[in-house]
Amino acid sequence: MVEITIRKRPQTEAVITQRKFFKKTARGKVVKVLRERYLRDDVGCGIESCRECTSSDGELLPAAGDLTHQLFPNGHFILPDTNVFLSQMDLLESDLFRSPIILLQTVLEEVRHRSLPLYNRLKALTKSEDKRIWTFYNEYRSETAIIREEGETPNDRNDRGIRNATAWYNTHISLTHPPIRGQTQAALPTVVLMTEDAANRQKAEQAGISCTPVRKYVEGMKNATQLLDLLSASGSDNIEPTQAASGRQMLYPEYLPSATLIAGVKAGQLHQGHFNPNPYNYLEGSVSVSAFSKAILLVGRENMNRAVQGDVIVVEVFDEKEWKAPADEVIDAETTLKNDDAEDSGEEGDENGEEVMAEESRILRSEAQAAASERQPTGRVVGVIKRNWRAYVCHIDTTSLTSTLTTSLSTQTVFATPVSRLLPRIRLRTRQAPSLLNQKILVTIDRWDTTSRYPEGHFVRTLGQVESKEAEQESLLLEFEVPYRPFGKAILDCLPLEGDQWVVPPKGVGDLSNVWRDREDLRDLIVCSIDPPGCQDIDDALHARLLPNGNIEAGVHIADVSHFVLPDNPMDSEAAARGTTVYLVDNRIDMLPSLLGTNLCSLRPFVERLSFSSIWELTPDADIVNVRFTKSVIKSKAAFTYEEAQIRKDDPHLQDELTQSIRLLNSLAIKLKAKRMAAGALNLASPEVKIHLDSAESSEPIDVEQKELRETNSLVEEFMLLANVSVARKIEESFPQTAVLRRHLPPPKTNFEKLQDILRKTKGLTLDVSSSGALAASLDKCIDATEPAFNTLVRIMATRCMLSAEYFCSGSVARDTFGHYGLASDIYTHFTSPIRRYADVLVHRQLSAAIGFTSLHPSLHSKSHVEKILDVVNRRHRMAQMASRASVEFYVGLALKGRGEASRSRGDGEVREEAFVIRTFRNGVGVFVSKLGIEGLVTFKRDIQFDADNYTITVPGSASAAGSGGDVKISVFDKVVVQIEVEKDKNTQRGKVRMTLIEPVESRAL
């Protein structure tokens, strides 16, 4: 049993054992706090073979101290003050810095108050094996405990406490090492006060305490040359002592009143747009506005003025001479701000905050020089029209925690780091911080005050363990705002009463609900569908046959979703809100209830299904003779995968009708494609990969491979395009005001400037962007004979320069902007996938009205209503794309991890892949691994030469580990080999793909 004792604290000593102070609460009330303190004589000094102090726990400091320093031949211990730890942590962390350190409790607590991240580093330091640090609890030792005197600042009090403790240590050493008679007195080691504060040193010297500034001390050390590099610059400055909180400092300018904003935007002095942060650099963002061809650049925290990704903001543009070029350096918030403190960052004019500011302004300054040609309009945010804050998926930053004990019930202020790099860290107060570590959590932003560097938010709920599939998937859906709740009862009530027993009623008398009215009976047509493997929602089927006059009849049959989804019922509004089906690697979030999507609407083989058909008469040269649209009933004869259809087509032994019709379709598709290409359609590329899943249940990704494209893919694509174009013409003609169309605006030429420049300088190639046809032609010429993948790479990069296609209402834009740039078509819409896209449902309704099948629902006559729906659909469409991309990325990450582990266990080392350089930065390169479809960043810690004009970096030969001697030059489009690892970020628990260069230079050492 442990010994339980009562500590006595005589009333007579209350002066030094009791402490009274006033505290201002969060509500602004002033309260008096009284604390007691028990002073003791058994606090150990931590020096080996000390007669008086018997401390069992912890590693003791050597009795003689450190004997290697020039200035202190008799041995010494160093006793650094708070500022040394705050500013020179890198030095103290160095392996070469091995002096025994006495760490005072006063110092430790002050570090803790000033910066928790630094405190956590310091604690790790005290625990590390190869450091000799003894923590001396001076505030609890009766000789060294002091109290604050009248008129003394807390800082002065602490300095005095540190000096007192140093003096005590020196007397303590001399008392516990008395001269032994008959022996000469061995020289005693000294305890040296290490401080940068000149005034403090002066006082110490007066009291006979030996002291030293950091630089002077390091200069006298054995490894001075290496260690001097680690001294931080601020170490030479005179650090001001902490002021008591001097009121809250404004960190951001106030917003203008909203009336001024609106007036300013109207007058054209101010510009309105969506805030778009730079993922590579947290201090930079941009806003695209119509008034400038280039986006307006926002540089620095004050100019971004609390805008968060997606906010609708108003910006003021600076004078042209203040315009800047976007930064070419990768600036990671995590590394720059790692020592920032959750509790008081930005709350007070604290020193830590100033350091952050100084650091940031240094970064910004270094960016300032740039060629005038690259300059972009630059401005600042003066107001926010609409915040688009929502719940963000975050991780708790471990280092911002005061206590990581799960038993702790105290409220803590911590940082939540959003998964998305585009968002700032969010500060939140929570009682359950320790239990939230390693969890994905949902956090919403509540406000962002001018006095606070970070937005404040609150915890919503946890999504689950980091890296668990459920949590990752849900977080993905939340992150991209995909509505994924199961369909409600009201929605399911809109389904046919028969459920999956529903069939097309027999023609004639049995057709009670009049399904056959005006429907063509196409059940005898040889119709088949061609889809990717495992496709359940089959929304298109095709047929073709020779006509007696030598022409060909081709038909595209689309699932008749509008027969089931009637306007203005709960199912319709839910589908409109969802906008699109979202495909994730291992899941699908349906737009329509699965009874419709995968069964009643799906054009499955061998069952009668309702469809909406578009039937052309084409000449053998694929010229359209005429086209008609009709509602119909079909009975598909087969459901092929692309591969099956391809095999069937290529098999010369098969001569049945089905195969014939596929061949016919194919021959037409080839001609259609050729025509489209001739008209200037672009053949773009996007990095698409396919994830192999182990089995449906475990869904462990096995491997990643690039998607293969077959002739039959192109077959289906051509006919879908043909149908879409024909339908678009028809509905535009019938409803010129409200037709639902899709367009792809030509990209502004400036978007291509950089790519053109890179191509010219590195490969001597030119890109003609005057029209889509010209671009297509010049893209075809971008060939590197030695590198077949080069063309694809250029196409991917060109695709990124373009705008994205969008739905629009024909009445709301000018007729000459209807065109689809990528397809080189003057009009286009989406008609062919009504099961998974809501726009197609609208198009079906309009087409059905255009052919007189039904009357048009009144809502589709209203331009504003159509616009409103299409706005939502456009946004959902974009989000869905991003979500599926992110899902693929996550699985690629998992696959990489698995592959890495496998190859490690085989002893092959890490995963290595070939990659292309796609961007160069001042301190690194961006690479693209085409085999995996992922992009990565390789950063160099050491200096490299960066040539912004020629898009090259040069790694000096001496710096490269290989020691090959010569400089290594890497430019954009160079092929390199990278090593890919997946590592967990220490603070956020976010899985991060880390790439390091292997060839031509090893970048690990850099």
Partner: protein
């Protein structure tokens, strides 16, 4: 900045310089207080201070509240507005205060030999003067002392101590700071018999930790018992001394008179 204080630092010290199993300083004052209280005690654990006055056994003010076979115990608690750092007035009907007084009543009912005083009432008035954690513990200990001081027969002392757990390390006699942060349990023991008079907990505590803390708090109760007993003995000694001196003085007078 209160959240910035470490409950138990790496050196094994708590925020006030105590180690895990060290109790705060106790001071006990048994001198009479109040107007005509039969017994009183002022006790402080560190910066928590309560003063208890005991009246009775006496005739009940309301007959309806009496029992025919034993004495009724009535506990009333007043918490001074200035007792905590933030001024807060708690009225009579405050739920927290009612709960506390009920707990005390339930604790002492089996300890006081109430059957000796049928149809009477024992009033216990508690004034909380200063709060810094361990309020219940202080109330229990001070009430024990006041009852003893009043000469009311008890089966045993009741000694209470609060125990908490920081991660896996148990702590004893928590300050307010620690109480707010840690799961804690208050245990009152009767040291002579080792019986437990009260166990109460308002936070969640892991079941694996409970036994250890419960036992430690019981042990700590015995340590407090020593201190309380000494105070009672001292007080009694003082009284005896005073009585003897009075007796002597009176005796001489008698001799002189007669």
């Amino acid at each position: 900045m209160s959240s910035r204080i470490e409950i138990l630092n790496a050196g094994g010290y708590r925020s006030d310089g105590r180690r895990q199993y060290e109790l705060r300083t106790i001071s006990i004052d048994l001198s009479p207080r109040g107007s005509g209280a039969d017994g009183s005690a002022t006790l402080s654990h560190g910066l928590t201070q309560v003063s208890v006055c005991v009246f009775g056994p006496r005739e009940a003010k309301m007959r309806s509240q009496t029992f025919h076979d034993r004495a009724n115990i009535n506990v009333e608690i007043g918490i001074a507005a200035f007792s905590s750092s933030e001024r807060r007035k708690r009225g009579r009907g405050d739920k927290r205060v009612l709960e506390l007084s009920h707990t005390l009543k339930a604790t002492f009912e089996p300890v006081i030999q109430t059957s000796l005083y049928p149809r009477s009432q024992i009033d216990i008035y508690i004034q909380v003067l200063q709060q810094d954690g361990g309020l219940l513990q202080a109330c229990v200990n001070a009430t024990t002392l006041a009852l003893i001081n009043a000469g009311i027969p008890l089966y045993d002392f009741v000694c209470a101590v609060t125990g908490g757990v920081h991660s896996t390390s148990p702590l004893l006699d928590l300050t307010l700071l620690e109480e707010n942060d840690l799961p804690n349990v208050t245990v009152a023991v009767m040291p002579r018999t080792g019986k437990v008079a009260l166990v109460t907990m308002e936070t969640r505590l892991h079941v694996d930790r409970f036994e250890e803390i419960f036992r430690l708090a019981g042990e700590a109760g015995k340590v407090i018992h020593g201190e309380m007993k000494r105070a009672v003995k001292e007080r009694t000694q003082d009284l005896v001394n005073a009585m003897q001196s009075v007796g002597k003085a009176a005796g001489t007078e008698v001799v002189d008179e007669y």
